[in-house]
Every structure is written in C-alpha cells, then in structure tokens.
Symmetry: C2
Subunit: 428 residues, 2 copies
C-alpha cells in the first residue's frame, strides 16, 4: 500500500475547492494516517479560468468529466458536480464501469439511482462512498454502516437540511415570518438554485432515502417518502408549540413497521429540551436507534466548505487504507424492496384551529375527535379575533387515518373557520 | 472472504454475555452485512457453571484465557475481562504474538500499555480494536480514526463517565448531596469495584488518554493527564452555577498547545444550554473539533450490556469485512511523545468564597484578582451565614498560574474564611 492514491476531481465549487485545499495543506497528515500519498492527477470543472484561491497548475485538466473519470492515472473518481442526472451520472457510471472507486457528495443521484449504481459498482468490485451526501461533516454513513453494523435498526431520524432549520429557529428567535427569512436565506446564499429542494424538503428527503437503505437493508426508495416542506409553517404554530414545550423541526423519520417501511420528511413537533429540540441554525443532527445500542445522536455542521470536504476526505482516506464495503452496507443484490407504509405508527398530534366563538363550538370539536377514538391530552383556547377563537389541542397517540376522519367531521360541524392545522409530534 | 470469522471470547460478564447474545440472535444480519459467518469457537470466564441466560454449550471452554487466545480455531481474541494487568494483558499479548486480532473494551489496559501493545500488534500485522473502551455505544473511535481522518484536530472533549454524570445531574435535580447520591449509585450497581475509578475520574481519564493519542498522533500518556474527581463538587456550587447559566460536568479535555499536549479530566462549568450542558444521567458525549469539520458531537449510552456489546460487535464486523488500521490511527512507531502541558490555555473561572462580612472585604478580593491581571465578568453576593457572606465570581479568561497567584494573595488578606473554590469554565 505504498503506491500513491490518485484522484480525479470533477466539480470545483465550494466542496471541490475545499477538498483540493485539504489535499495540498494536509499532505503529511494524510500520508501518516493512511500510509499512502494522496495525489490529484487531474480535475474538471465548468470554468478553467476561474480563480478559486487554490492553484490547479500541478494537475491535469479535462473539460469532460467522463474523460476524467476514465483516465489511466485516476484510481478514484471524486464526483462533486451534483445533480441526479447528466454529467455527474454519466461520469460516475463511466468510472465504475472502468472499475474505479467513486467518492461523491451527490445525494440526488444516489437517491434516484442508488440501486443501479450500487449494482454496477459491485459487479466491478468498485466502491461508491458518499459520506458527504448526508448531513455534511457528520460521519453518519460510517456510523450506521460500520460502527452500528451489529444493530437491528428500529428508527433513523434527523434534521438534515440546515437552511430549513435556520429558517425555523430564526422565525422563533426573531418573530419574523417565513417569507422574510426565506428572503434572508436567499441573500445569504443558503438556498439551492431551486429553493424548493431546500424548503420543500426534497434535499433532506434524498438524504433520508440513503440512510433508510443502510439502516433497513432496503432498496433506496425516494419515491416512497412522504414529503412536506416548511412553507406552511406559521409563526403562530411555532409560538404555540413553544408555549407547550415543543419546537418545530423539518424532521426526517424512517422506521420499519409491520406493513413496510415508513419514510417521511415533514415538519414535526419535538420536545424543546430534547437533543433535536435544542438544535439551532444550520446544524444537522441524526438520531439512530438500534436494538443493542439504544440511541445514538450525531450532531454537526450540515454544509459548508470545510465540513463537507472533511466528509469527502474521510471517504478518500478509507479507500487509501483499503476499506471496501458494499455501497449500502450489504450487497446490492440482497437489498429488499420494502412495501411503502405511510403513517402506520400512531403518534400524538398538535392541532390548531380557528373556532366560531359560540357556545358549544368546542364541544363539537371535542366530540368529532372522540367519535374518531382520539383522546385529548391538552387543550388551550388562545386569543380571540372578533368572533373567532384560536384553539390548540394536543392529542394522545392516534393513527393518522383516525385523525383525518376527525378533521373531516370537524369540517362538517360548521364551527371550524378554516382548515385546521395538524402537525405530528415525534417522541424522542 | 467467505470463510467464517472465529472468535474466542474471554470474560462473560455483562458485556461478554451481550456479545454472545448478538452473535446468536443476529447471525443472519451479521452475515448479510459482513459477507461472513461470525462464529464463537470457545469462551473463557471465571465460572463455567454460572447461569448467564445464554447457552454456551456450542462453544469450547478454556479456563485459561491465554490458552483461549492462542487456539488454532480462534481468529479474533475478544478480551472482555478488564483490568490493566494480569490475565487480560497476558492473553492480549499472547493473541497478538500469535498474529491474531484483538477486540477489547479494556480502557485501563490500553491507557497503561497502549503503545507497547500497538507496537506488538503492528509488528505481527495484527489489529487491536477498542471501540467499546471509550464512551460505550458511541462509535467515537471510528469517527475520530476514520471519518475525521483528514482533520487536524484542535480539541477533543467529553463526558465519558456515566456514573459521575448521573451523580451530578441528580444532585441538581433532587437537591441531595454528593454522599447521598454516591450511596444510591452503590446500591444501583453503577460503581466500579473500586469506586475511585469512577468518582475519582480515573476511568474517564483512561478513555481520554486513548482519544488524545488518535486525535494528536501522540503516544498514549495517561500519566500526563491532570485528574480531579467529583468528590469535592458541592450542591452549593451546582446551584450557584445553575443560577448563572452553567452546569457542572466531569469534563475531559485534550488539546494541542504551543507547549505540548494538555489533557485534563476535572469538574468544569459548561453553558447550561450547550450540548454538553443538557446532558442528563448516564449518557456520554464526545465533542471533536477539527480544522475542516469545525465541531462534531456524538452522544449515546456510556455503558450497559447492549450499547457496549454493540461497540464490540462493530469492531468484530470491521475485522470480518477486512478493515485493517493502525491501532491509534497511524503506525505506532510514528506516534510522538508530546511534552505535558497543563493549564496552558487561559479560561474563565468560577470562584466561590466565604468572605467576612465587613466593609472593604470585597474590595480586597477584587484587588487581589486585579493585581494578578484578572478581570471580573460577573459577581454575586449570596446568602449571609452569620458574619460570613458567600461570594460568587465569574472571571474573564485567565491563565491558571495567575489565578493561583490571586488565590494565594486573597488568602493573605484575612477576609476569606476558607479555601476558595475555583472551577474552570469550558467554552463550547
């Protein structure tokens, strides 16, 4: 293992530049720790001329990432272009077909094509490593695939989009509404080119799909995730939730149920003092529950040059050290296609509704819930606005279909002014 | 890699029994994930007859752990006996000498003999894996050695003794004193046979010594750790700290300084709302700060059958999958002997003192601090007890020698009734 490990890096944005910097600046450390010299043979990016604050003159250049991926002097293709399709996928496939290992931060590509790419990689005895694809600098893929490998996992959950968490925690801290903070994020450059990837929960759901596959030995199933973004979370809900000891997080949850795999990415209430509840700003957190380990929580920066490059480099070091693993922790051919189970497991819910302020209105709501078999844990009537009173209800555990039934029957009472809001409360 | 991996397990206490259970009950999962069958060839323990709730009849038996460690049908010697010397060390050395890999949970043995054992292992091309030795179920050794391998680590710290954290958080929650909770822990079986290993900070310091070595590429140096237990933490200090927004934790900190490696395990104040501050009961937490990743926090159960067995099994799975690493993340021969640096880096301090309640008393204390170049961030005078007033001071950052100088000069003013208490405040 004294031969150098030779990289071809495609994509020199924030993360790619960060990777080049670490390789240049920490060369001695990397060699000491991996026993090999880690070298860059060539790079590829959209613009060759752009000043990235780091010299590329020592490296070859390829305009075409596919050409880079298949160079003879490239042992590992480092894909940091992003995008589920197009060049990223073509170059990844080319590298794997040539039997080269791939390190990528591309959650979208793996969420959409993970199974096919894993099969291709394993047929060529090649690795795909993707620590940077999930939760930035947090070594969660490694923890789940390796450290916790002897656990039957019961649940994986996490806050995995820093922008959403930033918006939600800033709404609470500043009392500003969603739109104001969305605009602030746009100005700060916290949003993807398509902001719906962030605020619509898509990006976080891509990450959840990868964690699910490892945790449960199932084929990556992005389409099976129930996704709801944070666009409809109001300051009112954040405030009411806080009053009752909760915070609202865009929370991804994956768990095995008797009916299949339940995967959801949606706003949830979590206890304010829980590890997830205290999470501020752009920080990410992943919680893993296993039969032996009980609960392990990992927390760290979810994005940024340094943290993401740290994760990419962790994968590169693993390859340099000779670690070889199936892409999703077990051979791709053994991954199961689990049935999609949505909202199977009961949970308590937070309900907010605007009620006509008349005698008997609350009783009608209470009996709609009671008729559906839902009992009330806590209820608070808040400010009146003319003839309308805001009522907040926290239910005991209920199945989602029963709740939907109750909401429909509430609607028909004529005392509920607008569509009630229902947000799941996730126990920790 | 289709041959079974054959284990010899020495020590069938809580952890050993937990390992046997996982191997028996999760055989299919383990094979799917590692590509091999994981089998137990033989075991060894003090009593063969004891009912451990798990059948041992399928396995060979050795009274002598050294004989177990060197059996031809043992690929991996799993050392779960504990103790820095004696059988554990003899059997570990015998296994390594025979070129067998070792998985151990033995922090004391590695803290005292880590360098020699690593050299022996590497000379025989054998592995020593010890995830379970530090922070129970948390995969921190893996995160630090592998996931964060490209980081120049600046600081590692953590709460790594669940019993101490249990005592400290219960003192705050119940208002009971240290002695009452010590007795409670004794009854609950939370204490080591020698309780000073727990409450004296020794056990946690063993763990810190291992993390330091990996983080900084230094030879394990347990003797270089400044250790202070929790025996002198009073309910008063916990209460005063809470009033000022802090909690007291038995915190291990290791950091590289200009003068060498600073390692300490001692009660510290941390911000009550920080990840370390909110940590309750027996839960452990490790914080790693690296040049690229910024800060990563791992949290999980620090002890117990399931979590510790999970960590042991993670190591066994790694070996089954063919992962081979130097014991402390780089070849033992390249580990440096770093000079011991104690309290080099300045920090704010919490001071509690009993002052004679006379005009000018506080001024004398303030000028003792000022003369030593220490400025006061916050000061509170608390309850009087006859002629004595309790004064709490939070200083700005100061070097420990300056503080010691100030304490000495306070002592000579004659207004300080007893030895002032000084506790470091660790920033997060």
């Amino acid at each position: 293992m004294t031969q150098p490990l030779r990289l071809g890096i495609a994509g020199l944005g924030t993360v790619g530049t960060g990777v080049v910097k670490i390789i240049r600046q920490q060369a001695a450390l990397l060699t000491k720790r991996t026993g090999r010299s880690i070298q860059i043979s060539a790079v590829s990016a959209r613009s060759r001329a752009k000043d990235r604050g780091v010299s590329l003159s020592d490296y070859g250049w390829e305009d075409d990432p596919v050409a880079l991926a298949t160079r003879d002097d490239v042992d590992v293709f480092v894909e940091l272009m992003g995008g589920a399709e197009g060049s990223a996928k073509a170059a990844t496939e080319a590298a794997l077909a040539a039997g080269k290992d791939v390190v990528t931060a591309n959650k979208a590509m793996l969420a959409m094509h993970g199974q096919a790419l894993a099969e291709l990689a394993e047929s060529k005895n090649a690795n795909i490593r993707y620590e940077a694809a999930v939760a930035g600098g947090i070594p969660i893929i490694k923890a789940l695939t390796e450290g916790l490998a002897a656990n039957e996992i019961s649940r994986v959950m996490g806050v995995m989009n820093g922008t959403c968490n930033y918006i939600l925690t800033r709404m609470e801290a500043t009392g500003q509404g969603y739109n104001v903070l969305f605009d602030e994020c746009a100005k700060l450059g916290y949003l993807e080119a398509d902001p719906n990837l962030d605020v619509g929960g898509i990006d976080a759901a891509h990450k959840l799909a990868l964690l699910s596959s490892i945790a449960f030995g199932t084929k990556v199933d992005f389409a099976g995730i129930e996704i709801e973004g944070i666009q409809r979370v109001t300051l009112d809900d954040i405030t009411h939730a806080a009053d009752m000891g909760y915070r609202i997080k865009l929370l991804g949850v994956a768990q095995k149920t008797g009916r299949g795999l339940e995967q959801r990415m949606m706003p949830c209430l979590v206890p304010a003092q829980s590890p997830l509840g205290v999470l501020e700003g752009g920080t990410n957190m992943v919680v893993v529950e296993g039969h032996a380990v009980e609960q392990v929580v990992l927390r760290g920066p979810g994005a940024g040059e340094g943290p993401t490059a740290s994760a990419v480099m962790g994968d590169i070091c693993d390859i340099a050290r000779g670690l070889r693993l199936p892409v999703f922790g077990q051979p791709a051919a053994t991954l199961e296609a689990a049935p999609v189970a949505q909202s199977v497991l009961p949970a308590p819910y937070y309900l907010r509704m605007a009620l006509t302020d008349k005698p008997g209105a609350l009783a009608k709501v209470a009996s709609a819930l009671g008729d559906a078999g839902i009992s009330i844990d806590r209820m608070r009537q808040r400010e009146h606005d003319g003839d309308v009173a805001t009522v907040i209800i926290v239910t005991h555990k209920t199945a989602r279909p029963a709740l939907d039934e109750a909401m429909t029957s509430m609607d028909s009472t004529g005392v509920v002014q607008e569509n009630p809001v229902a947000i799941r409360i996730e126990a920790l």
